[in-house]
């Protein structure tokens, strides 16, 4: 590499903006070119995954190669696909027509704020599709043409769709600020669907979806492995608390079927959340069962296409029917709740063969789930706490000073805002909110949702997670917040590396990787529960960490 001359550097810096985007400065966004480089794209789907789903055009290809090996008539396929969807989804047609380009959404996206790439402004992201829509389908297309920003469907446009529909986590933060309620997430979904029609998709979505379809969960775990992993957690609980918990599997006639993301059964820190569930169910003597077939709460169909989403969602209900349970209880998952609240009813509902969920402990009937028959663990837990049915000792969480990250889907797609906070009040001595601009409906995404939680784009994830991490940094500095509570499995997997980068370990403990641990809400609940028959003066938390008790404190 040549020694850069100061003068050259100056030229570089001052006169060639857009180094960050690879685009030509001051040129119209339509004329800029999308450049794929290792690290800025998620790996394409393997041919066997594409075949498994029966999607077309399976082949080995890579986005950083010039030729994407598209079918000969790919333009026709895309345009026909768009036409079909415009007819099928009124919302899409509306979103294509009504944007006034007011720009209110422009600076609300974490991808834009973290990358500075203008095409990550929601308005421009949608414009990538809209420009083609206008060119092909809208009325004044012939008259105003390019002046209106219309453009034909070209390979470059397609490549742009791929780049930017996979730099959107479908979090819907932008829609909160749009005066017309335009949901750019749905535009992203459509772009991804259309891309699948010509065999353009990413592996990290299609493989988990295939696994889920085949074995029941994203990891492709077979029933015995699933069961075995949970038995390890049961052993850990015994060792830490001295209590035996009794999960059952595929038990017909149980009152409740409990479904959670499979990541909670496998990887840290989700497994500690799972231990929390097990302890609470034992505590209240819930008549529940787990299924080794419907062993996944997540639904990567949501990130693929509407048919796949329907199919994966239907599996939970088929299993509920087979087992003859009365209702469904769902664990701490993000997008599962979006599917459930926004799409389940029209896709697979109403689930008339089930009963409206009724807490066997408090008698509360959850009328909000009258049609889906499925409630969120936080709704269930908050109700138990309200009726004083849990024996809790918040001081067991004295070593934790949490803040709460609202996961996009539970917060924005189902309005689960107050229940988790109500639970936190009861299970920890103290916790702190992040800045109001970054929580509740306005929460910032973890930056890795919708199947973007894959390792090859780690740096991109660190960028898109910046707005979230930035708010955590503030409460860490101000209040000494040392843990980030949440109710989503993808958060648990992805906020951890985000914290490791933006809030690295400053303590003397070499085992720690960050100053802010990521923790599922139910872990905090489980850790605070005073169980019948537990060992006296319990000394360890669910992660085998040392507890600060009244004794050790003095």
């Amino acid at each position: 590499m040549a020694i850069p001359k100061v003068e050259q550097l100056r030229v570089n810096v001052a006169h060639e903006p857009n180094m960050f985007t690879g685009a030509i400065p001051k040129a119209d966004w339509q004329d800029t070119f999308t450049e794929f480089k290792e690290g800025n794209f998620a790996y394409p789907a393997k041919p066997e995954m594409v075949d498994y789903h029966g999607f077309p055009n399976s082949r080995v290809w890579s986005p950083d190669e010039e030729d994407w090996k598209l079918p000969d008539n790919w333009e026709t396929i895309i345009l026909q696909g768009l036409k079909d969807r415009l007819g099928k989804f009124r919302s899409l047609k509306l979103y294509m027509d009504i944007c006034v380009r007011c720009g209110a959404c422009a600076d609300k996206c974490h991808f834009f704020l973290g990358t500075g790439d203008p095409k990550n402004m929601p308005v421009l992201r949608a414009e990538l599709l809209r420009s083609v829509y206008r060119n092909e389908f809208s009325v004044g297309r012939k008259i105003l043409g390019k002046m209106m920003g219309n453009r034909p469907m070209t390979a470059n446009v397609l490549k742009e769709w791929f780049m930017y529909s996979y730099q959107c986590t479908e979090c819907r933060r932008c829609s909160v600020f749009c005066p017309y309620g335009i949901d750019t997430a749905e535009v992203t979904m459509m772009m991804r669907e259309l891309l699948h029609l010509v065999g353009v998709g990413i592996n990290w979505i299609l493989e988990p979806a295939a696994n889920s379809n085949r074995t029941g969960n994203h990891m492709g775990l077979q029933p015995h492995t699933f069961k075995e992993n949970i038995s390890y957690l049961v052993d850990d609980i015994k060792e830490i608390t001295g209590v035996d918990v009794h999960p059952t599997f595929n038990r017909k006639g149980a009152e409740v079927l409990f479904i959670t993301p499979s990541a909670d059964v496998f990887a840290e820190p989700g497994i500690f959340t799972f231990m929390g569930y097990l302890l609470m169910f034992e505590h209240i003597g819930l008549d529940y069962t787990l299924s080794t077939y419907a062993s996944e709460g997540g639904n990567f169909g949501l990130f693929t296409n509407n048919e796949m989403m329907k199919k994966l969602n239907a599996k939970m209900y088929a299993e509920a029917k087979r087992l003859g349970v009365k209702w469904l209880l769902g664990g701490e998952c993000g997008h599962m709740w979006r599917v459930l609240h926004q799409y389940m009813d029209t896709m697979n509902g109403p689930a008339d063969f089930l009963e409206v969920p009724k807490s066997p402990v408090t008698g509360t009937v959850f009328k909000n789930a009258a049609s889906t028959k499925m409630i969120h663990i936080s709704e269930f837990t908050a109700d138990l706490i309200k009726h004083k049915k849990l024996k809790l000792d918040p001081s067991r969480n004295a070593h934790r000073v949490p803040t709460f990250h609202d996961s996009c889907n539970p917060a924005r797609a189902m309005g689960l805002l107050d229940e988790p906070r109500y639970i936190l009040d009861a299970v920890v001595p103290t916790w702190h909110e992040m800045n109001e601009n970054t929580i509740r409906e306005k929460t910032f995404c973890c930056g890795s949702g919708t199947g973007l939680n894959t390792g090859e784009i780690m740096e991109l994830r660190m960028r898109s997670g910046l707005p979230r991490a930035n708010a955590v940094q503030e409460v860490n500095e101000k209040y000494g917040v040392n843990c980030l509570a949440n109710v989503c499995a993808i958060d648990r997997a992805t906020l951890q590396p985000l914290m490791e980068y933006w809030l690295p370990n400053t303590s003397d403990d070499p085992m720690r990787t960050t100053d802010v641990d990521v923790i599922g809400l139910s872990e905090l609940v489980g850790n605070a529960l005073v169980m019948d028959g537990e060992i006296e003066n319990r000394e360890q938390g669910l992660r085998f960490e040392e507890l600060i008790t009244a004794d050790t404190e003095g």
């Binding site: 850069p4 100061v6 903006p17 422009a106 600076d107 775990l221 492995t225 490791e500």
Partner: protein, 176 residues
């Protein structure tokens, strides 16, 4: 007036220009937003850049200051360490300060400050080395984060959707 005084007196105007240069690396649409929005939560990159530059400027001006790695500058470099640019591109903004200061000196009649200016430039160069270390630390942190994924087993939910039995099966196949 000594150079030191000139720097202090022109602090705001120099910083404003410096911000324009650094934020001007982004596309024009982005620049407008990153420059205008002052709320740190609504504009983290803008905020980290502006505060980072201010701290860096103060370190450059204060001859007694020995530590370059001030908190806000580290944050600013952390942002840049994630951008898809080379190390040289990420750090070249530092040398802009020489030009900005030189412009102010010119206005005052450069001759008077010439020697002091050379000393200042040497300080900028030394700072560049320190900043390069900070930058490489940030890069290293990215790799560390990747490594942690594998150490904790989190990679099974962020890298490859494979169960252990599948891995075993594949290994057996490979052995055959």
């Amino acid at each position: 007036m000594k150079l030191q005084e000139l720097l202090i007196k022109n602090r705001d105007s120099i910083l404003a220009d410096w911000e324009d240069i650094v934020l001007g690396e982004y596309a024009p649409e982005t620049f407008r937003i990153f420059k205008k929005q002052k709320n740190r939560f609504a504009n983290p990159i803008g905020h980290k850049t502006v505060t980072g530059l201010a701290e860096l400027f103060d370190v450059l001006c204060d001859e007694s200051a020995e530590e370059v790695d001030t908190p806000a500058l580290i944050e600013m470099l952390k942002v840049r360490a994630l951008q898809p640019i080379t190390a040289a591109e990420a750090l070249s903004f530092l040398f802009e300060i020489k030009i900005l200061v030189e412009q102010r000196c010119q206005k005052q009649g450069m001759d008077k400050h010439y020697k002091e200016f050379l000393v200042f430039c040497a300080r900028v160069d030394a700072t560049a080395l320190a900043m390069f270390s900070i930058f490489t630390n940030c890069r290293q942190q990215v790799y560390q984060v990747r490594l942690n994924e594998f150490k904790t087993g989190r990679n099974i939910i962020t890298d490859n959707a494979k169960c252990s039995s599948q891995v075993v099966r594949e290994n057996m196949k490979n052995d055959e």
